[in-house]
Symmetry: C2
Subunit: 300 residues, 2 copies
């Protein structure tokens, strides 16, 4: 049996981390955008071996337990102890790991949904497990619940699925331009001094967005958050300013990766692509994924 | 500007009503199925008149305030007081009103989403308003939050959007057969003695479903709930028993309408339709609507 789960890439625009000893109560406030590109997880289950085996591969390359600790933890919990067979978990990422696209949560959630589909469970139980494992291994705090909500999401109450509350903005006719330039360590940033500024600026941005909940306002607030926390600076800020001269909405920084994102109208797309080519920067364009992740039997 | 919102029809399989003075905390526990047929709300907004006018029509026929009190209440809250223009709200229902398909919540939620799209707001605020108005006017307790979740839903914590928690079952390859035979007054049933049996049997069914959360189990539990509460009896029960002889899963009663529903495999469909024709019963077949309602600019 072959199952496919798709989980959207999730870009955080601004956030407030909220830690808690109970992983289900840990989470984040903030806002972000779910893309129609992201993580595809294919799970193949074959019975009839003498032992239980779980194999995980990233983009076609087998990975060991410690390199895929989050997804292995999910699988260990969902594949029954008395199952005798081979479980292969193939994860394919449309964006590079560590660049701020929520790949870790995408892999965890996609694995949890696909394995629950096969071995029993529900959407909520699967998502809670993915969130818990993400939090425990410091993969992220808000990606799982944001990816479940889809669209342009606003986390108004922190926590995992069933506890946190996610709102959605109305939007139309936007594509998402992403310029992925490199990695940033979420862990290092969350352990550093900048966390205080993140908390202050994140709450201000959230309050302000809820008073005027439009995607255009989200981008203005995201940019203010990125600059005032000092996270967006140097060369990356220079590129953002170059975009300002050409795009109708401000671009902002992908939280947390060395990269930028912007909401671009269909009619702005061609000029934007020409600009990116002129600047010699890598980029991608994606649609906005509305609604839940997808999971089902794969017959492709 | 013309906006369209689609809200799935929602059939309740079993439920426990939970009343509360705060409408956002009122709701229900239970389970049900969202269909890919339901309520379409078209909202047309024209500015430039001297006064604010709100018009509502059901299936093309204009209705007065008292006949559409729920949708008028939603519109009065969402159209700004200083708006000068015509707001026309055209609601089209795929199933008859009062038959247990969640039309009232569909109209309220569709209206709230479409008007929020035009005049500003968010998904959560719009849904909370629809839920509050539904509860106040006794349209229903759990339909709005169930319709937001989509799919085969399980309300595991009662309350309106942002407070209640809804889980989803995994499923595949099912169509929903509905046999709508007449109306039932939700109000009369919730005011009657049967409410005690509903509370006891509803909780038992929910606990049992969460231990074995599969659609097939849902149908067994729904049927047990319907029979043990005494709601499914007489001629309707006879029809359900006739279905039992032909379908792989038990059918059950639409809560609350005089009607039956069943999960039918694609391959069972032809025989089922022949049976319904033989019995001379009205029926419809729908798919399961996954994910959120839809709202957007209408350009069809």
């Amino acid at each position: 049996m072959l199952i496919r789960a798709f989980v959207p890439a999730h870009i955080t625009a601004f956030f407030v981390p909220l830690f808690h000893d109970d992983p289900l109560k840990a989470g984040s406030l903030g806002a972000g955008i779910n893309l129609d590109k992201g993580t595809n997880v294919f799970v193949s289950v074959e019975t009839g071996t003498l032992e239980k085996h779980i194999h995980i591969a990233f983009n076609g390359e087998p990975v060991k337990g410690e390199e895929a600790i989050i997804s292995y933890s999910v699988a260990e919990r969902l594949v029954p102890n008395d199952f005798l067979g081979e479980v292969e978990i193939w994860q394919y990422f449309d964006f590079p790991n560590g660049y701020g696209f929520g790949n870790s949560a995408g892999g965890a959630l996609g694995t949890a949904l696909a394995l629950s589909y096969v071995f029993g469970g529900t959407w909520l139980k699967a998502s809670q497990l993915a969130h818990e494992v993400e939090v425990k291994h410091r993969g992220g705090l808000g990606d799982v619940i944001a990816q479940l909500a889809g669209g342009i999401e606003v986390r108004v109450k922190a926590g995992g699925p069933g506890i946190g509350v996610v709102d959605n903005l109305f939007f139309e006719d936007y594509k998402v331009l992403v310029v992925p330039l490199g990695r940033l360590s979420t862990k290092e940033i969350l352990d550093g001094d900048v966390v205080k500024a993140i908390e202050v600026e994140g709450r201000k941005a959230l309050d302000s967005l809820l008073r005027d909940p439009r995607p255009e306002r989200l981008m203005v607030l995201a940019r203010g958050f990125a600059e005032r926390t000092g996270l967006l600076e140097g060369e990356l800020l220079e590129v953002a300013r170059e975009f300002d001269r050409h795009l109708s909405n401000p671009s902002s920084m992908i939280m947390l990766g060395r990269g930028l994102f912007a909401l671009v109208r269909e009619k702005e797309l061609e000029n934007t692509k020409a600009l990116l080519s002129d600047l010699g920067l890598p980029y991608d364009v994606a649609g906005i994924h509305e609604g839940k992740p997808r999971v089902g039997r794969w017959v492709g």
